[in-house]
Symmetry: D2
Subunit: 442 residues, 4 copies
Amino acid sequence: MTRQHLKVAVIGGGSSYTPELIDGILRYHDEFPVRELVLADIEAGAEKLAIVAELARRMIARSGKEIALRTTLDRREAIAGADFVTTQLRVGMLEARSLDEKIPLSHGLIGQETTGAGGFAKALRTVPVILDICRDMEELAPDAFLVNFTNPAGLVTEAVLKHSRIKTVGLCNLPIDTKMQIAALYGVEPERVFIEMAGINHLHWTTRVLLDGEDVTASFLKTLASGKGLTVKNVPDLEWDAAFIASLGALPCSYHRYYYMKNEMLAELASDFERTGRTRADEVKSVEAELFDIYRRPEVTEKPKQLEKRGGAYYSEAAVRLMKSIYADKGDIQVVNVRNGGIVSCLPDDASIEVNCVIKADGAHPLQLAAPLSPQIRGLLQLVKSYEELTIEAAVHGDRRAALQALTVHPLVGDAALAKTVLADILEANAAYLPQFATLVP
Amino acid sequence: MTRQHLKVAVIGGGSSYTPELIDGILRYHDEFPVRELVLADIEAGAEKLAIVAELARRMIARSGKEIALRTTLDRREAIAGADFVTTQLRVGMLEARSLDEKIPLSHGLIGQETTGAGGFAKALRTVPVILDICRDMEELAPDAFLVNFTNPAGLVTEAVLKHSRIKTVGLCNLPIDTKMQIAALYGVEPERVFIEMAGINHLHWTTRVLLDGEDVTASFLKTLASGKGLTVKNVPDLEWDAAFIASLGALPCSYHRYYYMKNEMLAELASDFERTGRTRADEVKSVEAELFDIYRRPEVTEKPKQLEKRGGAYYSEAAVRLMKSIYADKGDIQVVNVRNGGIVSCLPDDASIEVNCVIKADGAHPLQLAAPLSPQIRGLLQLVKSYEELTIEAAVHGDRRAALQALTVHPLVGDAALAKTVLADILEANAAYLPQFATLVP
Amino acid sequence: MTRQHLKVAVIGGGSSYTPELIDGILRYHDEFPVRELVLADIEAGAEKLAIVAELARRMIARSGKEIALRTTLDRREAIAGADFVTTQLRVGMLEARSLDEKIPLSHGLIGQETTGAGGFAKALRTVPVILDICRDMEELAPDAFLVNFTNPAGLVTEAVLKHSRIKTVGLCNLPIDTKMQIAALYGVEPERVFIEMAGINHLHWTTRVLLDGEDVTASFLKTLASGKGLTVKNVPDLEWDAAFIASLGALPCSYHRYYYMKNEMLAELASDFERTGRTRADEVKSVEAELFDIYRRPEVTEKPKQLEKRGGAYYSEAAVRLMKSIYADKGDIQVVNVRNGGIVSCLPDDASIEVNCVIKADGAHPLQLAAPLSPQIRGLLQLVKSYEELTIEAAVHGDRRAALQALTVHPLVGDAALAKTVLADILEANAAYLPQFATLVP
Amino acid sequence: MTRQHLKVAVIGGGSSYTPELIDGILRYHDEFPVRELVLADIEAGAEKLAIVAELARRMIARSGKEIALRTTLDRREAIAGADFVTTQLRVGMLEARSLDEKIPLSHGLIGQETTGAGGFAKALRTVPVILDICRDMEELAPDAFLVNFTNPAGLVTEAVLKHSRIKTVGLCNLPIDTKMQIAALYGVEPERVFIEMAGINHLHWTTRVLLDGEDVTASFLKTLASGKGLTVKNVPDLEWDAAFIASLGALPCSYHRYYYMKNEMLAELASDFERTGRTRADEVKSVEAELFDIYRRPEVTEKPKQLEKRGGAYYSEAAVRLMKSIYADKGDIQVVNVRNGGIVSCLPDDASIEVNCVIKADGAHPLQLAAPLSPQIRGLLQLVKSYEELTIEAAVHGDRRAALQALTVHPLVGDAALAKTVLADILEANAAYLPQFATLVP
């Protein structure tokens, strides 16, 4: 990809994360010389978009780079002729997320943004919008890459792979975050660490750790098992049990706590909510309000420190590293979400997976796993993937049957009667964002 | 198989089910001319063995068939030269089952004989004994078939397939029971009904129903969805939700209630136990006491009606039909447990599955499924199978790591901390029957 | 299938094989009570159709069965409302077959009706006609079974499976012929023999032989290796080498001689042709002329003995047995051509295969193979199947690229330059029957 | 891999190729700082070993690098403590190769060093020697990498993967040669070209060509189809037919000429041999004699130009690039031979394949293919792989049955009677090198 005029479109450009992205673009501008950057958002986000854009302009000005930054409320204008389209949108905004957390809790279930019944609701709202963006891209930027950060990122990527011709890579900051933390544990530069991750977004296992090319997985698991570590901001800190880690033979990701520590996590979420009447979404709202207050200040010309509280460590790192490797046909290895095609042999070929990939100009090429997944990993992974398949069916076709089955089989629900009740609540509360379910039940 | 002297060995011959088996052998004696029938049991079961054997002798005498019936406390003597070895043993007897039901309940979990934490404990006790029997067979009756009814029958069959050279078929009365009930619903002879079952023992789905060769699955599901039906005695009666059945697109088996109706089942089990202080095992103890009282009566020369209460409908039907089809190289279709080998394409090749098989003299040949399994079926099936793999590892090698993972991933446990606690209780309570776990933790 | 009025349509009804079919229908009429039998043919076959129909009527009259026999030159009329449609047509008639044999010979290649360059030409002519018939069936008899005998029967079946919604089973008399010959070798009734065949039409291996349920494969191969036997009329008699059979570990089918004895077969075909100027097609023409002379005689009211010379031993047996088992939902085992779906794990799922199937009212259900195919079998099978895939592409779309590759990879051609020349000759000589290739080269 | 004292052992160190290797080691010494280099050979090669070693020492001296070079006739001494073991041995030397070329020709078959009946004979001689080396490595250098150049390199790699625990990568200069030629065709630096190769050693297809990250496969094939190009010295120059390349949709490798241009290649080899009484081995003998004359000259202190005639272009490039990337944990992409594990989904998991791999300190990680292989590629690849499996069985166990089947199915033989005769000749002529076949026929 040797573009004279490199154009990046950011859908959901008014997001509080955008300064992260700007920061990354500026840091890596020599290798990834963006010329035109368009922040697009919807009418309801116009104010935030304006604030973010002003901050972005100040950051660009300070850097001295030549980047034309524009904002628009017309998504199609942003997409037309873009080389990369990134999506960091939130259908229904934080209000909807708040409901995603509260509705499940009201049924005695874990309410979480990206997994369980909450993640399910988010998927129903998000998938159709992303597919609409793909439709626009097929028309206006058919060779562009869709770099998707929007959660649930793996499920959304699979929806795009199955229902669009657009080239896409799904991205999450969790893998790079894990790598950075492992490097920190060893007190070495990240380049000296190589990890094999296998699984799907928000449900991957680190199955191998190599330090300077030597396999240190066994000792790593032993050391790490008992101590704290390797969580992300969005997930409460809970320690892994040493015997459990030893028997698992791999490092779970932080979202695994919702599965392996289901009871403790639920208890914590429920008691927090009971005590404060607030969920993570409500906290984020406060954080965002603070952030936007900071963004507004004319003297702020850099990504503010406070942004880190928001949970997006290495977010710009992940995003810009991916785009610049595609741009430069770099051939380095990054953990991203791509079509399976036999790499994780226990999952369908057309599933999305999150694994090591070589990033070339034509996209991400996944690498063979060192060994097939163990049964302790395999079963849970397969179950959650079947949930994702069903949820995509539900989201794309407004299929209530698939929706009911999706919730029933999800390990964080796991009961048909409960699934039915929660589903009714979700469909009702989100009706404004779920036109695909508006028709009568068949 | 054209034996002059057809010999059947029954391991666990003192079981209250044995009169069922005798009844079947007598009814089908023309096609399956057993000459020698040896009932073997352990010392602790000597009294029951004697009672059952006396009843069996009276039944044989009444029938006028020429069958030499012997009893022995030496398993090897029974096995030597046998053509068929059937196993209907219960390691730890009903006392152990009672604990299998109570220990999980004490942790807020479903306590059930063949699935969940209870079935897990039973598997740990049972698999090594069955493999010992296989060792004896390899030495004393290498060409005999092991017809295994001992639960968890699918898991036990997989253990035998993986760790023995003995030919085996795993058997359960649930499939034939389901077929009989479907035929009864239509008011037709069972021969006019053909059903496709897919899955594993106690977790199979009826994916197709054909009446006189015509596919009536859709109408069958519609009719059945709302009504009661298709349960076995061992499982509490709960109705399936119509919308749920429609969205599943298949008929679940009765044990599916522990999964799909987890909350309701747990509530029912817990409240029953709280109310009565008894579990199903305690009821069975009473039923068995009654049965043996009846068996003792010299005037009883037939299978008593009361045996039906015990939950083994069509048990003799299934058992003897299988053996006589092997014996006669019959080529009819029966649903049994065999090596997967690609038939259920989403499960490992070396897994055991429960599907339609053609029964020939060389064993059971599974048939292709009409279609790959839907995602709503696939994920749960894969998860439970991974639990079974781990449990076999744990049972065969006394592997505590595999044991912890097995319980953690099982949908009826699903939490690592809980799994750890329950496992500790199970290992302690069953220590006498789990020599494989006697060594120190690695 | 419980039809009041069972109707069978025979496309290519004027074939000399038809009296075989009539004979079978009459013999099995109690179990397969055909009420209406329509023989359809094309204008050019009208005279033969009339002769055959008259004989058929005499045969029916003699039997006393009530079967309404009709002839028609309108294929759609025959198909409308039929329960079974059988195809025994020959596009281009024996003239075309004669060229299929001669063109390859003129290039130093084996010229044979169903395999190699000859079979390829026949496939190009036949597939589009069969798919037209399927189109008619989809409209006029959507629930009917297509029972296809037309060669290359496996390739044609795969084309139908891939390009039509019609239920179909492909059929060949070779499997039953093999079974009959094996039974004859043992001097037992065929029912006592069970064989496992694996592969594809005209390229299957008998991998297991069971006598009274006992596996006698090893001794069978030893006995048979050196002797003559197990050929069909259409294939010259050549003995298998003992060491070769032992190393193969299976019984090849008679068409394997064109592969394993390629040089000898080619030499024989070439010298025969040089000596006589005639090929098998020319012989068949003479045989057919004789047969039709016999068919014409009013005193002939049975299938004439001379028909056996034609090479169709057990043809009616195979055809009627299949249809009556479907009709009666019989559940017996027959070797037929069906969709693979994982049974032969080294071939694509959507390939057609020829294996043991249970025949039920809803079609043929293939059985699991006892073991994966050995490498000596696997590679050749995969290569020929890839030839079949390419040939179907060529035949359906008039794709010259696929055609060139099909011939190039076929083991009986195996050279690109030669393939190109032969292909040019075939396309030219068959132009009248290959409208799909009429457009300009892309 | 951060070795203080990097040691490389070269088995077959007396090869005329060794100066190539030395040249590469010197050129890349900064990144791959070899400290100890041991050239090992057998007694019969002692003289050549001495000559090569003297030249190597002069080359090292001229370079000023600090490398201790030793020679030994004791292979185990060379292996002990090595970090890399490379094999460039030739069991039976050029005399044996000469027979590998002449024996097949005497039966009207292509006689070639690495494929067909000739390559088969070479495999029988070579595999046991390589496995002996692996046994030594398991004892004396268990963590070392075996970098195997010995032909047939793919088959040998598969034998090592199946029968040894040693880490191995199989290597051939053909892939890098192809890439260099493609770069030359475009007049660009090789780094700007990315090609996807899929298949096995000496039978791979270039399925994608990217220039600066853009897919130019279609235009590349069009341009190239008609012209000469992309051959190696060991393979006669024959042009590809344009229509053939277009229909193949991929660039074949030069060894494909033996398959796709079988007749022309055979004619050329036969006529050359008839005319000259010499084969390629005889030419190589002359070339080698000349080379060694040059090597002997004290004034020669660099790799002589004449070595290029030998056919090993980029040989040192390939060899040293691989080792240095492993040493430096580099993560670049190279085409090497590794375990399949699902990457080429139509081949067995335990087969060796030749594809793009990321080279890390723990070995070569193959990348997912962009698409499954087309049928025109798949069938031939599968057949030749089944030949390789059988040949490994024959070579490891002295299994005459597998040997006969291997030759029978190989597309360059393809006839059982011929295979039997050729096999007898090969076994007799090579008896001194085939102790595994010395026992009586079973």
